[in-house]
């Protein structure tokens, strides 16, 4: 099937399907507590299994069109992937320190500059690689109605193609950054599929850039107040440009309720000295997921399982080690 973006759907009797999140803050808090305790008691080794449990919590509690998602990854694979990622980072830092040592030892100033530039270029490249690889891992371990998701495409090519866009953002002092974000979202969604049903992203870089600029500047001018009006616009924009298997997404959140959510979450976290974070996270998940809708959801039933090729976990672990908060802004 192609990933052409579908035209506006004709009036359908079928009601749109909506999402929901059933996770409870208490369960997540307990999960974090258990993971922390076991991670400390095992001197860090358990963290990979803990992470798998957290993924299972989030996937397993996310419902769409009456069915839940399922995370099929394992702690063992995350652990092995993490070891590989750590090895890669140690190698990178080792090369950097060796370079700076040689520069200091033999007074090679130019060599030092080259080593530093190569190091930072490698970090930027790895970061972009990790963004795509993280999404690929998470997609390939997501199962819905016993059909797997898949993010095709090569993370290395994604990293290669992102570099000029990031450079453009750099030389334009960030003004071109929304163009990179728009490209990144498109690249990921255009390669994402649910079984044999492909996702599609309707490209509209100009509209996204204008929306982003509006958000940045008006938020600054209004000391952050406009942000709560901008967030619903962005949420609707992203969903309005997304489809899967010919079914279009849509969603609406209101500025007032977004503000109330942010304020109550802030108070919740502040007055519990951070212990309320688990409740804040689950409230936010419920808020956003329950506002996502999909038109003609019965078409999802046509999805057929294709192959069982799984994305590697090293890139995801690398993203974790580089402390990347990978997401698509929902």
């Amino acid at each position: 099937m192609s990933n052409e973006f579908p035209p506006n759907a004709p009036a359908s009797e079928e009601p749109p399907a909506s999402g929901d999140f059933h996770g409870k803050g208490g369960d997540l808090f307990l999960l974090w507590l258990a993971n922390s305790a076991l991670t400390v008691l095992t001197f860090g080794i358990y963290f990979a299994w803990g992470k798998a449990r957290v993924y299972k919590f989030f996937y397993g509690n996310t419902e769409f069109a009456g069915s839940r998602f399922r995370f099929t990854g394992t702690g063992k694979e995350i652990f092995i992937g993490t070891l590989k990622a750590i090895g890669l980072i140690i190698l990178l830092y080792g090369l950097f320190f060796a370079g700076t040592y040689l520069q200091g030892r033999y007074k090679l100033k130019a060599a030092g500059i080259v080593v530093t530039l190569i190091f930072f270029a490698a970090i930027v490249f790895l970061t972009q690689f990790a963004i795509y690889a993280t999404m690929a891992y998470r997609a390939s371990r997501a199962r819905f109605r016993e059909i797997d998701f898949r993010l095709a495409g090569n993370p290395l090519l994604f990293a290669r193609d992102s570099i000029p866009r990031l450079l453009l953002a750099l030389v334009t002092f960030g003004f071109a950054f929304p163009l990179y974000t728009h490209w990144k979202i498109g690249r990921i969604y255009d390669n994402l599929s649910f079984g044999n049903l492909k996702f599609a992203w309707r490209k509209d870089a100009g509209a996204y850039w204008r929306l982003a600029m509006q958000g940045y500047f008006l938020s600054i001018l209004t000391v952050g107040v406009y942000y709560f009006f901008w967030l619903p616009k962005r949420f609707a924009f992203l969903l309005d440009h997304l489809s899967v298997g010919g079914c279009r997404f849509r969603g609406e959140i209101k500025a007032g309720e977004t503000f109330v959510l942010a304020l109550t979450n802030l108070l919740l976290v502040f007055f519990t000295l951070g212990l309320g974070s688990a409740w804040a996270v689950t409230r936010s998940m419920r808020f956003f997921i329950s506002r996502v809708e999909l038109e003609n959801p019965s078409r999802l039933e046509a999805a057929l399982q294709v192959g069982s090729r799984k994305a590697g976990v090293t890139g995801e672990a690398l993203g974790n080690a580089l402390d990347l908060g990978v997401g698509l802004g929902f």
Partner: protein, 380 residues
């Protein structure tokens, strides 16, 4: 349209149509069946009995016995669960709002009951909190020390030098070079005294005088550098105080307190980051500060240990040990944190340090420097 099984019932090892209808039934209801090939749900009838899980759709029926199906991760929500059907890779039964079905599966012994998940939330929280408290107490009272000791022992002494050398570079521009032969001799003799306080120190001691009268302080860097500000020198009145000060700073070097502090800080940081896991925000700040407070406590302990080391080794070498006490008496006029806030201090309260040295005046009264050398030091 009649749904048909995605596999052949008769040849399926997991399905036994003949035995299915004869089962007593604990629970019966509907579930969604997914064959793992297409995302289409088939609503089928499910019955739970002592022999297993019976599934029926129209006239087709079959039985999955214990071990032929397993619970998939539910994300902690019993209202929704699914069972993977092992004989058919990818196939699963999804139950919505059927927590009683899960209870019956467990009660019938068809699923292994996980003692942990069966424990109520508050019970699990208590057990985990208990584990953390016991583990935390062990680490605080013994475990951290054991780890620090083992790590510091494993680190070669060269590491101390490496750690200290970069720090001392910051003072290079403010260092005072001994202007006279007597001053140089006094510093050399003082460094030699520190070195020989206890055998086994591999660092070579360097005493660095930093020109800044506003700072009344001295400290030792890993690797053998003892930095003394001229502000502190001016505070000293007797040679005993100079010897006491150097012996105290020398103790930090002999006991590798600087390296230990760095190792301890790193281990605490690692522990905090492990403990944080997915936690963020104010929780991380809280735990981070707890780590800092623990480190401060160890810092105060190091200072008290250095005081005791200085007294003991000065006496053992026949030197007067009273100087440290008289020096501390001068610190009494400087403002300190109130007693209730002592846990925030890097050093023990001065009064406590003085009272711990009440016998400092007893014992030998040997001096290190000649009157000329001591005068040269005072002139720096």
């Amino acid at each position: 349209m009649r749904w048909t099984w995605a596999w052949d019932l008769d040849s399926d090892p997991g399905l036994d149509p003949d035995s299915a209808s004869a089962l007593p039934v604990y629970w019966e209801g509907t579930a969604e069946f997914f064959d793992g090939r297409q995302a289409k749900a088939h609503v089928i009838i499910v019955a739970i009995g002592p022999q297993g899980l019976e599934v029926r759709e129209g006239e087709a029926a079959g039985l999955y016995r214990r071990g032929e199906f397993e619970l998939t991760e539910r994300g902690g929500d019993d209202r929704f669960f699914s069972l993977a059907l092992k004989p058919h890779a990818g196939a699963a039964l999804a139950f919505r709002e059927r927590p009683e079905a899960l209870e019956w599966l467990r009660a019938a012994g068809l699923l292994r009951r996980n003692a942990w998940s069966a424990t109520p939330l508050w019970g699990r929280a208590l057990i985990l909190a208990g584990f953390l408290i016991v583990f935390g107490a062990f680490m605080y009272f013994a475990g951290l020390d054991m780890l620090v000791n083992a790590t510091v022992r494993a680190l070669p002494a060269g590491i101390d030098h490496l750690l200290g050398s970069s720090a001392t570079q910051a003072f290079e521009s403010k260092l005072i070079k001994p202007p006279t032969a007597a001053a140089q001799r006094a510093l050399d003799k003082s460094a030699a005294m520190v070195h020989t306080l206890r055998p086994g120190l591999r660092d070579s001691i360097r005493i660095l005088i930093v020109k800044d009268t506003s700072i009344k302080n001295a400290f030792a860097f890993p690797g053998g550098a003892i930095v003394v500000y001229t502000g502190m020198l001016h505070l000293l009145e007797t040679q005993e105080e100079w010897m006491g000060l150097l012996a105290h700073e020398g103790a930090h070097l002999h006991l590798r307190h600087g390296t230990r502090r760095l190792v301890r800080g790193s281990l605490l940081g690692l522990g905090v980051s492990l403990l944080l896991g997915d936690m963020s925000g104010a929780g991380s700040v809280l735990l981070d500060n707890a780590g800092n407070l623990i480190n401060l406590n160890y810092g105060r302990r190091d200072e008290a240990e250095a005081d005791a080391f200085a007294l003991e080794t000065l006496r053992a070498h026949g030197y007067a040990a009273s100087g440290l006490q008289t020096l501390f008496r001068k610190f009494l006029k400087f403002k300190e944190l109130p007693g209730w806030a002592a846990f925030l201090s890097t050093h023990p309260a001065t009064r406590d340090r003085i009272s711990a040295m009440k016998d400092a005046g007893k014992g030998p009264h040997g001096l290190l420097l000649t009157a000329e050398e001591w005068a040269a030091i005072k002139r720096l």
